[in-house]
Amino acid sequence: MSFSFGSDNRLPQQRLAVASYIIVGMIGVLLLGFWKLQVIDSDQYGQMAERNRVRSIPIIAPRGRMLDRDGRVLVDNRPSFSVLLLRDDPTLVEKSLAPVADGLGLSIDDLHDQLDATKALPKFQPIVIKPEATPADVAFIESHRADLPVLEMLSVSRRRYIPGGFMGHASGYVGEVSEQQIEASNGKLRPGDVVGKAGLERQYNDILMGTDGMRRVIVNSVGKEVDHLTQQDPIPGKQIQLTIDYDLQVVAEQSLGARPGAVVALDPRTGEILAMVSRPTPDPNDFAVRISKEEWKQLNEDELRPLFNRAVQAQLAPGSVFKIVTATAMLEDHNPPESFATYCPGYGTFYGRQFKCWVASSKKGPTSHGTLTLHDAILKSCDVFFYTAGMKLGIDRLSYYGDKFGIGHKTGIDLPSEEAGLMPSEQWVERAFHRKWYAGETISVAIGQGAVTTTPVQLARLIGGIASGGVFKQPHLRKDLQNVGEERVPLSEPTVEKITEAMYGVVNEPGGTGTALKIKDVELSGKSGTAQVIGYSTRAKFGKQKRFDDNGWFVGYAPRRNPEIVVAVLVQEGGGLHGGESAGPVARDVVKAYYDKKNKKLQGEVTAENSKPVPPNGTPAAALVPRTAVVKEEESAVHTAPARNER
């Protein structure tokens, strides 16, 4: 032992005894305290516990509205009631579930699932069991106040869109926040919150979404409000103004009709999107309340992919529209020189393989183009000319220009889930497939086939940018977007002049692929394209089944130089129509509507009175109306000036 314990090892027994007395005394005093609370004042505290049921009732903040560029309301809110389930008393809840499910037409299993999912919340916080109460539900709840005290109603505001999926892909839709979103929000979002799930609703959720308020009330044991503690007022969401022009949007919706496809109209001077359509589309109103699992499954499994915004997500071969890139590359590089001419017998042989020109399989007219130069090659969309030009340029130069013009890059449009498309190159095949580039692939790429893919919004930006002399503005939907991106690709004046002259010719010169689209007094220009989804041989094997439809493109703009409007149209439908025939009329309708409105404005016909905001419930017969009414006039034009088939 390093130290000796006290030699005197007598214990202080007296003082230890004192410690015992102190312990007994201490416990005694504590028990007296409990006696006073639990026996003497028990009734008083019992009443306090009974009264002591604080309930937090949310006051839902309305989401901000969306206006069009003229201030007309596109997306609004409407008042509605939600049914709340009060969970204070688990036994009462358990007992009430069956009659509640029965009375409100809900599945009792869903109710159980919901209760399980919200276990973590304090019990005095009610949960929403039916987001949209019908008048019958309201009557049911009112008449069962006494025997079903677990039900309560909450006044909420619900999203209202123009019905029929009008602008549905651009606006997107709202829905209940997902667990991932809650986690990613740093505590800003809570279970049950309604947030933007797609489109602008999601992109600008932080602006549109307000902050819910909260009312803390004291309720008695049957849930009746007896006192009001505090109220925290909701902060409504802010409205946003869009660049969308309601009038053009209506025309674009009607003109595309129910055909799968997309329309993007934008002002290349600013990048402002004037109209955006994608078909098919769900009706965002269906999501505003709560969509059932079956409906959701159906939307996701639909072969036509209605949840897919083709305007920014469809990555498809641009077909002959890409010839503008090849032509620009040729003029800028002087390879082959501008004077270059080639003879088109309906096919060409490159690297030992025969490549057809579309004209060879044309049902009407000649089956060869004869000798042509660049201008006519663009007009008639001659494949053989561009095969040759592409071969001379090589894939490096083609992909250099394609890349410069934004293929393979997102345009930066303010929508979630935009796709980038693809501009193939030697490096790309090396990276993706670990092989060398085949020279034959260049031939396909030169006419917009092969691996090259673009989105409609990309093509609108591309054609608009080239026609504007190489100034590419970032497409966007929010009117007061700050720092709109701009890219400048210096193009020589002769190049731009040549290209735009040729695109003007496509619509306005005899032999052009879009001559049926001519509009009086408007310099409509553009380029058509028809991209094969599958090869000729496969098509021959399977016949003309619907899913092998070609993608018809038309990118139109006006005026010829420094355009004010570009419209890229994609139509995915059969019937053997080429892009100029299927997509062209849509582009023409939108451009025409743009000029009609502009002229009316100039003449003072459009005033504040007659361009009043359209209330969303006053349905403008826009969406999904068959396009016949609008197209009639154009069909007759087709008869008088038979359109050329092209490939």
Partner: protein
């Protein structure tokens, strides 16, 4: 060797009381957390109890004299650990009290309490007189003062306060003279007065501590903070009545009005659901536990053992007093858990290790 204790020498009564209290705790933790996001906490608590029981056994086997021999090293380790926690500890709820160890967060101050019990026991054992003179009293005060200040810095007022009765009981049993005791009581009273007197308390207390004092004195002025907690606890206890609302039926408990109802305020949840009869049982068990400890002290072989056991008794007694008094609204919120009933890893381990020391002393009472 003097070490040859057998199993029948263990204090089986003490173990039975201990087990009974733990059982009440686990039951009430279950009732307070089932059906909430904390569900399953009672199983965690059972794990802590199992680990505690093992530590208790281990600590009871090593002769306490050998442990006390290491007092100086233990003391230095304790000081170093407290400084370390201040420098690199993890903050939770605005206080640096935790260090990670084997994937768990441990409160260093719990270990500090155990070491101070041992160090003080050795110090008082070495005072070889029936009377404790002023010099030794001041020495003991300094011995406790250093870790106390370090724990206060975390800040953890509750645990720091526990050291005071530990020192006082030790000194009392070491022969504290009446005039010194009177002086200490006077100083203590002045300190308490200062704490409750705003102009002075402003200088010595942290804002949250001052808020607890104010809300204790005027609970109605603070309907959301700790005054609200005390009021809700009192409502829970009072509404339980004599017979209680029944297991799992306390509205204050089940609806979540009782603050930290599985931990610091577990007595409140117990009192609501089990009523006065349940409180009688629980406090009866605690009284039996403390008296049993004193009895073990009385029968200790030497003063060293007696000081150890009474150190444990003083610490546990103070915990029980402060926690239960808080639950009935007779003391401000201090964050001191109820030993063995409140959920908590470090605190549970501390109690079992402390009881291990008591067993240690008991096992060796006849050995010579």
């Amino acid at each position: 060797m003097r070490d040859a204790p057998g199993t029948r020498d263990y204090d089986w009564w003490l173990l039975a009381i201990l087990a009974a209290i733990c059982a009440l705790g686990v039951l009430e933790i279950y009732s307070a957390t089932h059906g909430s996001s904390l569900a399953g906490m009672h199983m965690k608590q059972l794990r802590w109890l199992a680990v505690g029981a093992i530590l208790m056994f281990v600590l009871s086997r090593v002769d306490y004299h050998l442990i006390m021999d290491q007092s100086l090293i233990l003391y230095l380790v304790c000081i170093a650990a407290l400084i370390a926690v201040l420098l690199l500890g993890n903050s939770r709820f605005g206080a640096k009290r935790w260090i990670p160890l084997m994937g768990q967060m441990f409160q260093v101050s719990e270990l500090a309490k155990l070491i101070i019990i041992i160090v003080l026991a050795r110090f008082f054992t070495e005072v070889r007189s029936d009377k404790l003179d002023l010099r030794d009293l001041i020495k003991a005060g300094l011995l406790v003062g250093v870790p106390l200040v370090l724990i206060l810095k975390q800040p953890d007022l509750g645990t720091a306060l526990v050291l005071v009765p530990l020192l006082f009981v030790g000194a009392f049993l070491a022969g504290l003279q009446w005039q010194h005791m009177a002086a200490i009581v006077l100083v203590g009273a002045m300190l308490v007065g200062a704490v409750f007197y705003p102009p002075v308390s402003k200088k010595i207390l942290k804002p949250y501590q001052r808020e607890r004092i104010t809300s204790f004195l005027h609970p109605e002025e603070d309907a959301k903070g700790s005054g609200y907690q005390l009021l809700q606890s009192k409502i829970a206890v009072g509404s339980g009545g004599f017979w209680g609302k029944g297991f799992g039926n306390g509205s204050q408990n089940q609806l979540g009005y009782i603050p930290v109802r599985y931990s610091d305020f577990i007595m409140s949840a117990w009192a609501e659901e089990q009523g006065f009869k349940g409180v009688l049982l629980a406090l009866g068990l605690y009284m039996a536990l403390l008296l049993r400890l004193v009895q073990n002290a009385q029968r200790a072989k030497d003063r060293a053992g007696m000081f150890l056991v009474m150190g444990v008794a003083a610490t546990l007694g103070f915990h029980i007093l402060v926690n239960v008094a808080m639950v009935i609204g007779a003391m401000p919120v201090t964050g001191i858990p109820l030993p063995l009933m409140s959920y908590g890893g470090s605190a549970t381990l501390f109690v079992f290790m402390a009881i291990g020391l008591v067993m240690n002393v008991r096992l060796r009472r006849f050995v010579n």
